[in-house]
């Protein structure tokens, strides 16, 4: 009897999970489907779900009109570069705050978080002027720099919470056993921090990939990433839904695939320390 209940429960909860998953995924699926429709079918009322004339024409048009690979390469360099630099700065910062906190640590953490509360448009003109003076407008390095700064508070906060979960006693035990700092870092701390590091890295990468304010405002042609590519297909006067969907599908494809493959790490990292 108990076994039956468990099985039924399992079936229900699995079905419910699939349903919720499908609902969340539906907008993306709809976008992918729309990208294979003609413009006329993309806004047909009532919409057709699967039975329409499938076409790859939109992808061909999008590639012909704008250079996808140029934008994708920029996105990879900018998101990857800013994430790596942010991690390099954030790991020691979070480390010191987690393992040797001072009485100011909490204030510093809160101050860092407070910078995220400022609307970026408030500093657009000053940043634009600085970038113009230093020749950083429309450069990849300029975008890497601003995205790295923008995401640093979140990265530090995430790493700080992960590091705090690691018991100090383990470090002390390792030291008692005669481990040097290097060995302590590599053999004791890193394996325990990997899920946290991986999920921070991935989340930061996704945030940088999707960042659309600074990338749109500080780039023109040479450094323009995929956000600019998408913005060029949106229009308030004229129907370009199918082409916009094709452009968006192309833009999210790399990060979607990356997320798919690393979802185990991501989920583990995000729930790390959630249950004590």
């Amino acid at each position: 009897m108990a076994r039956m209940v468990t099985t039924r429960r399992k079936v229900i909860s699995t079905a419910a999970a699939w349903l919720v998953g499908f609902l969340i995924f539906f907008p993306i699926l709809w976008m992918v489907l729309a990208s294979f429709k003609t413009e006329l079918e993309a806004f047909a009322i009532p919409p057709s779900f699967l039975f329409f004339h499938w076409t790859t024409e939109n992808y061909a048009t999008v590639q012909e009109r704008s250079d996808y690979f140029h934008h994708a390469l920029n996105s990879i360099i900018i998101a990857g570069g800013s994430t790596l630099i942010a991690m390099l700065i954030a790991i020691p910062a979070a480390w010191s705050m987690a393992f040797s906190p001072t009485k100011r640590t909490k204030d510093v953490l809160l101050w860092m978080l407070s910078t995220k509360m400022m609307p970026p448009v408030g500093v657009l003109v000053p940043i634009y002027l600085i970038y113009r003076t230093f020749g950083l407008l429309d450069t990849r390095s300029g975008l890497i720099f601003i995205l790295c700064l923008g995401n640093l508070p979140i990265v530090i906060w995430m790493l700080f919470t992960y590091f705090k979960e690691i018991p100090k006693d383990i470090l002390e035990a390792a030291r008692m056993d005669g481990a040097t700092i290097g060995r302590e870092l590599i053999y004791v701390l890193t394996p325990m921090a990997v899920p946290g590091l991986a999920s921070t890295l991935l989340l930061n990468l996704i945030l940088a990939w999707n960042e659309a304010f600074w990338t749109l405002n500080l780039s023109t042609l040479e450094a323009a990433p995929l956000t600019v590519f998408i913005a060029s297909y949106s229009s308030p006067e004229g129907l370009f839904w199918a082409k916009l969907s094709a452009a968006s599908t192309l833009a999210i494809a790399p990060i979607l695939v990356l997320g798919w493959f690393s979802q185990r790490q991501l989920v583990r990292g995000l729930t790390f320390g959630a249950v004590k």
Binding site: L124, L137, S234, S235, P236, G238, L239
Partner: protein, 437 residues
């Protein structure tokens, strides 16, 4: 790595372009509209004639482009050589000395051929600061089959009473057909473009001669009451989130008996590739109330050169090509007369080839002629602009007021409350900006 790539690319460029000519690269910022995309596709025709100029395109969504270009021009960032701007920006930017007057467009450019209303809209003190690429007004597009069935006949210049009455008669909610589709989405260029033009036809105005906001006037109340009641009785569901694209989709799917919007929509609704009702569309002037003003706006996407540009000559050469008479012929030869950019030149409306394929041409021209940015409404006003007031503060104020009116349409606030809120928001902003005390 980047240096190596740059070096290789540089070497390749030198080899390919030998014998070398000093190259000028123009960066053109533009919006994602059909006519602009066509121009982008035809760029090679321009560069073939001007081998010393390379053209690069930055295409962005309208609001993104406006913010991007405004930041760049205000800070003299120098990222763009040719800008696509509207009639709203031209007078404001020209007065701030942000634009170069276009006086080197060449002898055969024929400025006199530009439609007078459009030319006025992109000129300040008689000087042309932007060259119109395509112009538009607004008009009524209606379903001739539904009108015939209901025994109605659309006059060439209908009154609001007729439109309201017809919309109610033509609504058949069980069949999913609505009498009228109008913009409801909040924004100064969305619902406020339509509502300001409608208010003009009712004799309302944004400000009196002393810049005092006028939303408490009976004219505004009549405008908004008529609009909200009409949309409640004869409009599609969820109209407060409908903009141009949503209404275009509805009209093309046969869901609207009438639609009042931009004249450029005429070529979309009568194109059988896009519209299910392409052969059943008629056109009429935007409605009036007998006060001498029709509810139609005036807009022109135009090309301008930012002040401080070091490539003025090349930029003007490009602008002269893109907005000249020969460009129209080029588009016609490649893509047919139906696809040429409309609403800028008198000669186009005398061209029999164009008139043959564009049944809406006569009304587009009549609508453009009927709009006057310098005298937009019945009473005198201190501002320029038909569906906007060309002051820098208007974007913010227009959007705030648009949100109130959109809320009135969705029913979350009343017409009176929306007008009161619009009045106080506008007064506050105008005081802050120093127009009134």
């Amino acid at each position: 790595m980047k240096n190596v790539l740059c070096a290789v690319a540089g070497a390749a460029a030198v080899l390919i372009s030998a014998p070398s000519i000093a190259q000028t690269t123009l960066t053109v910022a533009t919006v994602n509209n059909g006519d602009m995309i066509r121009m982008q596709g035809l760029t090679s025709e321009f560069t073939a004639k001007n081998p010393d100029i390379t053209v690069k395109w930055v295409t962005l969504e309208e609001n993104v482009l406006r913010q991007r270009v405004t930041t760049d021009i205000a800070t003299k960032g120098g990222q763009f050589d040719v800008l696509t701007i509207g009639t709203y920006e031209v007078p404001i930017w020209a007065k701030k000395n942000w634009l170069v007057p276009l006086d080197k467009l060449g002898a055969d450019y024929d400025v006199g051929d530009l439609l007078p209303k459009i030319k006025d809209a992109v000129s300040v003190d008689g000087k042309l600061y932007a060259a119109p690429f395509y112009g538009e007004s607004s008009m009524v597009m209606y379903r001739t089959d539904l009108f015939d069935k209901a025994g109605l006949k659309m006059p060439e210049s209908p009154t609001w009473d007729f439109v309201v009455d017809a919309a109610k008669k033509l609504t058949d909610k069980s069949a999913g057909v609505y009498g009228i589709c109008l913009r409801g989405k909040a924004g100064w260029g969305e619902n406020m473009a339509f509502l300001t033009a409608m208010a003009n036809s009712y004799g309302a105005r944004w400000f009196d001669e002393k810049w005092e906001p006028q939303f408490t006037s009976p004219e505004w109340k009549k405008t908004l009451t008529t609009y909200v009641d009409l949309m409640k009785q004869a409009g599609p569901p969820g109209a407060s989130s409908n903009g141009f694209n949503e209404n275009l989709a509805l009209f093309n799917a046969g869901k609207c008996a009438m639609w009042i919007d931009a004249t450029v929509a005429a070529s979309f609704v009568s194109n059988p590739k896009e519209s299910k009702v392409a052969d059943k569309v008629g056109f009429a002037l935007a409605p009036n109330t007998g006060l001498g003003k029709n509810a139609n706006w005036l807009w022109a996407w135009s090309l301008a050169v930012p002040a401080g540009s070091k490539k003025v000559d090349a930029a003007e050469k490009f602008i002269a090509w893109a907005t000249g008479k020969d460009y129209t012929k080029l588009v016609a030869s490649k893509e047919g007369w139906a696809n040429v950019p409309p609403g800028t030149r008198t000669s186009l409306y005398k061209n029999p080839d164009y008139l043959k394929v564009a049944p809406f041409a006569k009304l587009t021209l009549a609508s453009i002629d009927a709009a006057d940015p310098n005298k937009p409404t019945v009473k005198p006003v201190p501002y320029v602009g038909v569906q906007y007031a060309a002051i820098p503060e208007f974007q913010g104020i227009g959007t705030q007021v648009g949100q109130q009116f959109s809320a009135a349409l969705s029913g979350s606030t009343s017409v009176d409350a929306a007008l009161t809120a619009a009045q106080s928001a506008t007064e506050r902003e105008m005081k802050r900006a120093g127009y009134i005390k």
